[in-house]
Symmetry: C2
Subunit: 353 residues, 2 copies
Amino acid sequence: MDEHGASEQKTFSPRSTSSPRSTIKDVSRLAGVSVATVSKALNTPHVVSEATRERVLEAVRALDYRPNRAARGLVGKRTYLVGYRLPSVQAAGNPTLDAFLHSMVEAAARHGLEIVLSADRPRGNPLAVYEDMVRRGSVDGFILSETDYHDPRIAYLSDQGVPFVAFGRTSDDDTFSWVDVDGAAGTAAAVRHLVEQGHERFGLIAWPEGSRTGDARVSGVVEALEVADLPPPRIVRTVNGLEEGRAALRELLAAEPPPTAVVTVQDTLAIGALLEARDLGLEVGVDLAVTGFDDIPAAEMASPPLTSVRQPFDRVGELLVDMLARRLTGHHEPEGILVTPELIVRASSGGGR
Amino acid sequence: MDEHGASEQKTFSPRSTSSPRSTIKDVSRLAGVSVATVSKALNTPHVVSEATRERVLEAVRALDYRPNRAARGLVGKRTYLVGYRLPSVQAAGNPTLDAFLHSMVEAAARHGLEIVLSADRPRGNPLAVYEDMVRRGSVDGFILSETDYHDPRIAYLSDQGVPFVAFGRTSDDDTFSWVDVDGAAGTAAAVRHLVEQGHERFGLIAWPEGSRTGDARVSGVVEALEVADLPPPRIVRTVNGLEEGRAALRELLAAEPPPTAVVTVQDTLAIGALLEARDLGLEVGVDLAVTGFDDIPAAEMASPPLTSVRQPFDRVGELLVDMLARRLTGHHEPEGILVTPELIVRASSGGGR
DNA sequence: CTGAAAGCGCTTACAG
DNA sequence: CTGAAAGCGCTTACAG
């Protein structure tokens, strides 16, 4: 199936020249100075003479020396590692993990940090994985996502004095650093856009009450309609899923008179509504408007393409890492940054006379 | 927006009891033995007496002691860390990163390992990030994905004697350990399924020649048609994208007579074809069959739902980590595991009289 | 079976 | 400005 690589393979392995990694001792020997001086030339260059510094740097280059991570961490009490627990898979969607991870990893690299992954242990103490990393000193701090009301990780890490930053606030007087996406602003933008199209009767497909993220998205709809002096939305609450979206739409359309615009808190629900509307003989974007949230890849591929609210995950990841890097270098006052999502208008939100 | 968390926040921070992490010395003191004995009780329990072992374990429990990672790594020449470079974002799709990462992280945890992420540096030496980690000894080994013909990382790591395993073979006589998904088997299964439906004229939307993954998927189609004694597919080559899929379908349908079944090497292309077919007045699953590859979330949400080939990323991640863990504990013979993907049949592949 | 000692590769006071 | 020394928290020969 691929004869290409077969014969050339050897070309790439020019014998094991495997240079044993060089240590600070090798550098000191080659530069003719003590190891202490090498260390200083690298970490606090201003305390060594220029001549010395240059000879050291030259030796470093010649040997392709890089300080050993473990040794550096052991004496410096720093690992240059940041812990991040992957969101649970069933946290439906996570279409966004990709962009989020990338932005974190790249920002981390700029600070000389790396991201270490962990996963939730199936059932059992949700703190276990954090306790473990804290106690073995394997990271300098954490980035938290999926924070919710009363997140126990926040109490634990604060208590232990371990630096962390959170994607998501938990209350209005948070005493830790966070970055959050203004979900209410996102759904409010969708509502305003629909109102401009002439829509007056709104339906809302939402999650069950009690999740920080979901509650914010609902409040954005409710408040934007108040501002527009329109009646509140008819709300159907359900969990993520295509079938759930279909059922919710049916329920909304059963009202008399039925809504002409349906806002949803997540794209999968919106796409379910799209499919159901078509089966019902309605032309979405003409007879009925539908909007989603998250702008998952499927939104653009839907028919008609789905208007959705896109969260700037690439910025969020970077902001979080920058914030944590500040924390790790002494900056202690908590800070919070609220990021505004962007409404991506596509054909599904037309209609409304 | 969320008054819930505000007041209760304090409940979770019962004063900073921040126990300074205990060290092996604390344990040795509490257990009344030397630190060497503590280390042995933990690492080579059979060399200490049962009584001692128990007293040590008790002290460990009492102090919630965990060996410091950096110290352990420094002396043991092991970091218990595995490096993984994220696939480039533009590697369109990666709908699968999520499942893949999860399975790797969870498998790693079972081996006492953790995954450290890195990202490709924009332009520049693609090996730089690996060289850096190797030279600072920050990981025990690597997991490679997106391997392609003549992957320079393989030569570099082999040469340096750094353990690694690859998601993807590069040739037939690979001298390293790999796990690969049998892409040819995947598209062949799609073809057989379509043949069973009565299809005889096939179109294939593929990537440009020269990618390991793409070439395998094409060969699966070609070979399955040969076996079925049917004419070869008409092939249109293009890059990923909805518009690209639409254009490719138009090109295929321009043939005389046009194909009744279109196989694609990726779901986005397939969904583009689906949308174009509808615009052309064709009913997919009746007038024309279309299949995809990857089973991205959008496949299920398409209309009609898209028949697609699903790669078992959750298994792949685990297999890779298990393999690497074996390598790290002395097992040296290279091994290869070929995993078969699964055809997920949905409505888009109907028709064919 | 147990412990004293050396050492992993660094950094950081501390003298000079 | 430079270097000798101590020490970070472990593990691993080596004696006893």
